[in-house]
Amino acid sequence: MNKILDIIKNPVLTYEQRVLSLARAAEDSINVLNISRETQALRDEGVICDLFEGHAPYRPRYIVPDYEKFMKQGSRFLDLEPPVDLHDAINNLLILYKHVPSISSFPVYIGNIDKLLNPFCKDDEESYRAIKRFLKHIDRTITDSFCHANIGPEDSLAGRLILRAERELKNSIPNLTLKLSEDTPKEFVLEAINTALVTAKPSFANHRMFSEDFSGDYGIASCYNGLNIGGGSYTLVRMNLYKLALKIDDFNNYLEVELPKAALCMLDYLDQRVKFLVYDTPFFKNNFLVKENLININKFTGMFGVLGLAEAVNHFVENSEDLKNRFGHSQDANAMGIKIIEKLESIVKSHTLEELYSSEGHYLLHSQVGIDSDLDTSPGCRIPIGDEPEIYKHVVQAAKYHKYFPSGIGDIFSFDSTVKKNPSYVLDIIKGAFRNGMRYISAYSTDCDVIRITGYLVKRSEIEKLQRGETALRNTAALGMGALENQRILERKVRY
């Protein structure tokens, strides 16, 4: 009971954060999953981690509703008619957002908002003000940076109004991705880059690559997770490759014995979570999103996350104190990284669970961005901060991993503010990165208040509030504060 009282007495939680924490504590007070001793041991060691999903999953971690369908049909449950003008459209969406569950209880995907609003937009100040209010409303009520909006790949008036508003608002929420294809007009992409260099968003998704992996039907949710529209992911559990490596001295033993063993434990744990949600909770039977066909279980999958690849590889590398031998620099180290991921891919693809309907019964690999408390462990397959090579080498090296991770991987580049004078510079780098197999890329400028932590966005000014012991509206500010302290986010190599 002390934990409950601690939450009630916590001096920095807002009311909303307190209620959600209490709900989580209630869920975690029961144990309903049949977890093997081996798996539990790996969980206790932090090798396997469910990222605070809770002991009894009663809603999918990530839900990607079909908002286009909602715009056409309205909602019986919410008693909403299809919109006839921009104000209706915005109001309907804001209402629906409050009813889309997730692991944080805030929607992690709020639609391809330019496409949703464009039919109602006019090239006038009224449309602009309405869109600006819409975005401000999202920032102040969906107080969680894992809330993600998409725009593109086509140019549109609404898309331009959204970018203009974001440049002015400089808000951390929602996270924003531009789906970028070869056909996206250059001028629109430059607008997006100019916005990113002011307020750290949008990021850029390789539309061709995601379309191929998801049959053209994907949304980017949460940090950078590719998922089917009208579906989502039941769960995400991650494996800390570094923590596993710390127990072993020999790379072959790691690759051939311990990694497969741990992966099988994690797959079993994932299966338990999926089955409990699907069969023991009423979510897929009674939720109105399901009943109104805004989501369909046939479009759901599950995610197998990894992090700490760089540190795992460096653990096995000889003379790793010398940068040239480490992950991201030496050919041998990079080859070890690829071997680990290919091994995991083959294990994950050999395992089937019927309920992973959208991905032919297999989990999708996900390069996980880490959590605030991770120490000395880099997100997913990223090259550690402080070890980054020159940008041209960095992009080529990082891109090699992107094909393995349809449900999300991304790299972040911090640019000096002088680059704002030549946004085409960033455009050329992004295009080159996509040509070299990169799936997702983020850029920001060193002088932004909004900064990209690992996948999500936080305002520096909000972190400073927390550091002064004040409450902060957005719960991700606390994650950001931990990440700044533990993961040296502000020390990313600055590119010119």
Binding site: Y392, K421, S424, Y425, L427, D428, K431, G432, R495, Y496
Partner: protein, 239 residues
């Protein structure tokens, strides 16, 4: 044919539009009082070897420069002063054009019109320095006159191959007003609209008496910008 290379910067955001691979050739025919890269001035010869310079084939330079071809808009060749090695430069530019690579040249324009015309055939755009309008001032600043510079600039303007013209603004020792006035008049007399970049002198890295000269004030720079704008240049940038 072989030439002298100082260095290659694979990604550059400051050597023309977009992301460009910047190639710096060794050797310069000016000796500017405010030079920030004096190590690139020496012209290499058997009697005058220079450290950290590679002597390489045009083909090898082209190959090396295109290692990150997917990521770049084009290449920019600079120096030193790249036209000092004009034959090598022309061969390199020809080879880039054969590979359909966009070629920009960063130059002081001090070479014969005949050579410049030949070079222009293989160049998309020039980034051109006009350091001083008055010939005596130019001589004092660089060690040579500016007749060829102006002549080549006019030719390049006429064929639409200038990307931008630049002047470093140095208070006290140069008649900056005259240079900005005359350059912008000249540019405005052509149909092509180009950018005029006014660069603030900075004393970091310079040697001798130039260390005593201060960076021009923002007020002074914007006064010069107004001069250029009033003469019909639409795009004037201060850096």
């Amino acid at each position: 044919m072989r030439g002298y290379l100082r260095k290659i910067i694979p990604f550059s955001s400051v050597d023309g539009p977009g992301n460009r691979t910047a190639i710096f050739l060794q050797g310069c025919n000016f000796n500017c009082l405010y030079c920030h890269n004096p190590e690139t001035i020496d012209i290499v010869s058997p009697d005058n070897p220079v450290d950290n310079v590679q002597f390489l084939e045009a083909d090898d330079l082209v190959e090396k420069s295109l290692e990150y071809k997917d990521f770049i808009r084009g290449i920019t060749i600079s120096g030193g002063e790249c036209t000092v090695q004009i034959e090598f430069l022309i061969e390199v530019c020809k080879k880039f054009k054969e590979r359909d690579v966009e070629v920009y040249i960063d130059t002081n324009g001090h070479l014969s019109l005949k050579s410049f015309k030949e070079l222009s055939r293989y160049v998309d755009k020039f980034m051109f320095d006009i350091k001083a309008w008055d010939v005596h001032e130019h001589l004092k600043l660089t060690g040579v006159g500016n007749d060829k510079v102006i002549e080549n600039f006019k030719y390049a303007m006429g064929i639409g191959k200038i990307f931008e013209v630049r002047t470093v603004i140095v208070p006290k020792i140069l008649d900056n007003h005259q240079t900005v006035l005359e350059v912008s008049r000249l540019v405005a007399s052509f149909e092509d609209k180009i950018r005029y970049k006014l660069i603030k002198f900075r004393n970091k890295g310079v040697v001798g008496n130039m260390k005593e000269i201060n960076t021009p004030s923002d007020k002074y720079m914007s006064k010069l910008k107004t001069v250029a704008l009033n003469n019909g240049i639409e795009d004037v940038v201060i850096i």
